[in-house]
């Protein structure tokens, strides 16, 4: 009897505790204060120049102009943006196309609504003295890669050059820094043009006591090797896109404001650097300016208009995803994406809006800046 009462008491207590944590699962269509719509954007990583356009759109009031109140959610080591989006924790997410398509194949209902980066920013960098001038020269070398789906352009290039990535090269798992390359643990290391490559140029060459010069390195740029895949894109929730009128409107408005943000960063890279630094990025100012400038190169010029998904580039990415085998013999995708994998409907509407506001969405006159890096990117 006593035991039963005790057990009942425990049961009652735990129910109380559980109910105290209520759920606040507000539908994303709810309007916040001032009649603005709350929107959550999930980034792939911490705030940095890579996301300058969205930050500029938020801090320069471009989202507000469209009646949106955008909360920018930072990524983390184990945060997968497309999963966060598919689970309904965010309204939009930034993700690389091959990785997002892999999640799609596993059941994530997401759609690419805007291809912000028109070009790939991934390099394979080696010391010029290693004489790695083409993917075929990687044979017998120690080849660094980050794994987790960041390596497929490299593997596609090696496969195309007739190398078996599992046998003909030594694959090395890369860290977040570039010390592996600088100490020659790695002969050719993966590097994003806007981040790790800059880290190399911010490091001192022990032989000269000066910062490394670009001539010290050879860069394999996948855009030139023909194995580039589409990277940062805006992904949306497919089922909401198909059924929810208000979400469709939000998607158009979100894209319009984001592209306006990127156009602002194209014309004002220094201001965008300051906005990123103000958001609490821990990377130095010259590094951030480099990053904004390099990201601009990936977006501009955009002949069809920023954010437009180019059918040929999309097809190339999908084909590479289905044919390139990684070290375990797996391909990114086993079959062509089904359903609404991408759509230009919303970005087209967004571009019309921007053109009517006289925003330059093509950037045909874009010329990148020359950014001088300082030691450590300070």
């Amino acid at each position: 009897m006593k035991r039963t009462r005790f057990a009942l008491a425990v049961l009652a207590l735990s129910t109380m505790v559980l109910t105290a944590c209520g759920t606040a699962d507000e539908p994303s269509t709810s309007t916040g204060t001032g009649g603005t719509k709350k929107v959550k954007l999930q980034l792939q990583w911490f705030v940095q120049g890579q996301f300058a356009g969205y930050i500029a759109a938020a801090d320069q009031g471009f989202y507000q102009e469209q009646g949106l109140d955008v909360e920018i959610l930072e990524g983390g080591v184990d945060i997968v943006p497309q999963t966060v989006l598919a689970q309904g924790q965010a309204d939009f997410a930034i993700a690389w196309v091959p990785k997002a398509l892999a999640s799609r194949e596993q059941g994530a209902e997401i759609t690419n609504i805007g291809q912000i980066f028109q070009r790939s920013g991934t390099y394979q960098v080696s010391f010029a003295s290693s004489n790695i001038k083409s993917p075929a020269d990687l044979k017998g070398k120690k080849v660094g890669n980050w794994g987790f789906g960041n390596e497929f352009e490299l593997f596609a290039a090696m496969t195309r050059a007739g190398l078996d990535p599992g046998k003909d090269v030594t694959l090395v798992q890369q860290q977040f820094d570039m010390q592996g390359l600088l100490r020659k643990d790695i002969d050719a290391a993966q590097a994003m043009s806007y981040n790790e490559y800059a880290q190399l140029l911010e490091a001192k060459d022990p032989a000269t006591g000066q910062l490394y010069k670009p001539e010290a390195f050879t860069v394999l740029d996948w855009n030139n090797e023909g194995t580039a895949m589409l990277q940062d894109a805006v992904w949306a929730n497919t089922s909401k896109l198909e059924s929810d009128q208000s979400y469709q409107d939000t998607a158009t408005k979100f894209l319009a404001a984001s592209i306006k943000g990127w156009a602002y960063c194209r014309d004002n890279p220094e201001a965008c650097r300051d906005l990123v630094v103000k958001r609490g990025s821990k990377l130095g100012a010259s590094h951030q300016l480099w990053q904004v400038n390099e990201v601009n190169k990936l977006i501009w010029p955009s002949p069809a208009g920023a954010g437009m998904i180019d059918e040929a580039a999309w097809k190339a990415t999908v084909d590479l995803s289905m044919t390139t085998k990684n070290a375990d013999g797996q391909t990114v995708l086993t079959k062509a994406p089904e359903g609404l994998a991408y759509t230009n409907d919303y970005v087209q509407k967004a571009l019309e809006t921007l053109r009517s506001q006289n925003v330059d969405v093509n950037g045909s006159g874009f010329t990148p800046k020359t950014v001088t890096l300082t030691e450590g990117g300070a």
């Binding site: 184990d78 945060i79 999963t83 100012a285």
Partner: protein, 285 residues
């Protein structure tokens, strides 16, 4: 020498031994590390892999970024931020552990049914758990207060902290000799009275080691949770942010690691202090 003096000497001694080991290995070790059969068994000793202790210490005094706050202030603030997750996670985890221990001690069937799950809970890798907990975060609220990212970190800290307390306290609550329990029964003491007058006092030798473990686990959980979820503001986030700069500024990441270690020591110190205070009160009583 008195107790306090010995304690201070011990702490200083440990620090000196640590510095000597670091610098000693750096002085005699192969700069390129020691490689056996293609595997590096001893780390490199060059300045990029193992900066001098004084380089790291002086890095604390320099600004984090050009014109920014000095590193010591940034790391201290980050540690205080993480301390909130650690403290709440530790206290909540301790209470959950205590409750589970009492429950398992009270109902044998619960012990048999629950204990395997308690143990199982610790074999779930954090890397799998963290995104799930982060995922709940967007849906939950406490009353009307919306869920904050640091609360997800707190949950992970709690998840690691409850285990040693649950297991340790169960042992402690079961520790009184049968003769003592029989004495309580002969006084017609109820379950509650037996718990408060006999079992809880008898479990203190088990409680404090368990709490120490829980404190360390809470710190690890919070730091790893921050790294995993990228929660802004904490020392775990600093570790990952600074590690990205290891190419050009290798000493920086060590400052964050020292901060995380100091946080662990501070929390362990608080547990030690409370043990000391409880011990003194009991002696007086």
């Amino acid at each position: 020498m008195n107790r306090r003096g010995r304690l201070v000497l011990g702490v200083l001694g440990a620090a000196v031994v640590g510095v000597l080991l670091w610098e000693g290995y750096k002085a005699v070790g192969d700069p390129d590390g020691t490689v056996l059969f293609g595997t590096r068994v001893l780390p490199r000793t060059d300045d990029a892999a193992m900066p001098h202790v004084w380089t790291i210490l002086s890095r604390f005094g320099e600004p984090e970024l050009a014109g920014g706050h000095p590193i010591w202030l940034v790391v201290l603030q980050a540690c205080l931020f993480t301390l909130r997750s650690v403290a709440i996670g530790f206290v909540a985890g301790g209470l959950v552990g205590l409750l589970l221990a009492v429950l398992m001690q009270r109902l044998r069937v619960v012990e048999r049914g629950l204990l395997p799950y308690v143990i199982l809970s610790q074999t779930v890798p954090l890397i799998a758990l963290a995104p799930v907990i982060a995922g709940w975060g967007g849906r939950l609220s406490i009353g009307t207060y919306p869920w904050q990212p640091w609360m997800s970190v707190t949950v992970i800290a709690m998840y690691l902290a409850f285990f040693p307390v649950a297991v340790g306290m169960l042992r402690g609550l079961q520790s009184p000799a049968p003769i003592a329990e029989e004495l309580m029964r002969s006084y017609a003491a109820g379950w509650w009275q037996t718990l408060v007058k006999l079992r809880l006092p008898a479990s203190t030798p088990y409680l404090f080691p368990a709490l120490r473990l829980a404190a360390a686990a809470a710190v690890v959980g919070a730091v790893v949770g921050e790294i995993s979820m990228g929660t802004r503001g904490g020392v775990g986030r600093l570790v990952i942010e600074y590690s990205r700069e290891a190419t050009t500024d290798p000493a920086k990441v060590f400052t964050a690691m020292i901060g995380a270690a100091a946080l662990g020591l501070a929390v362990a110190g608080v547990v030690g202090l409370s043990e000391f205070l409880v011990g003194r009160r009991r002696v007086r009583a």
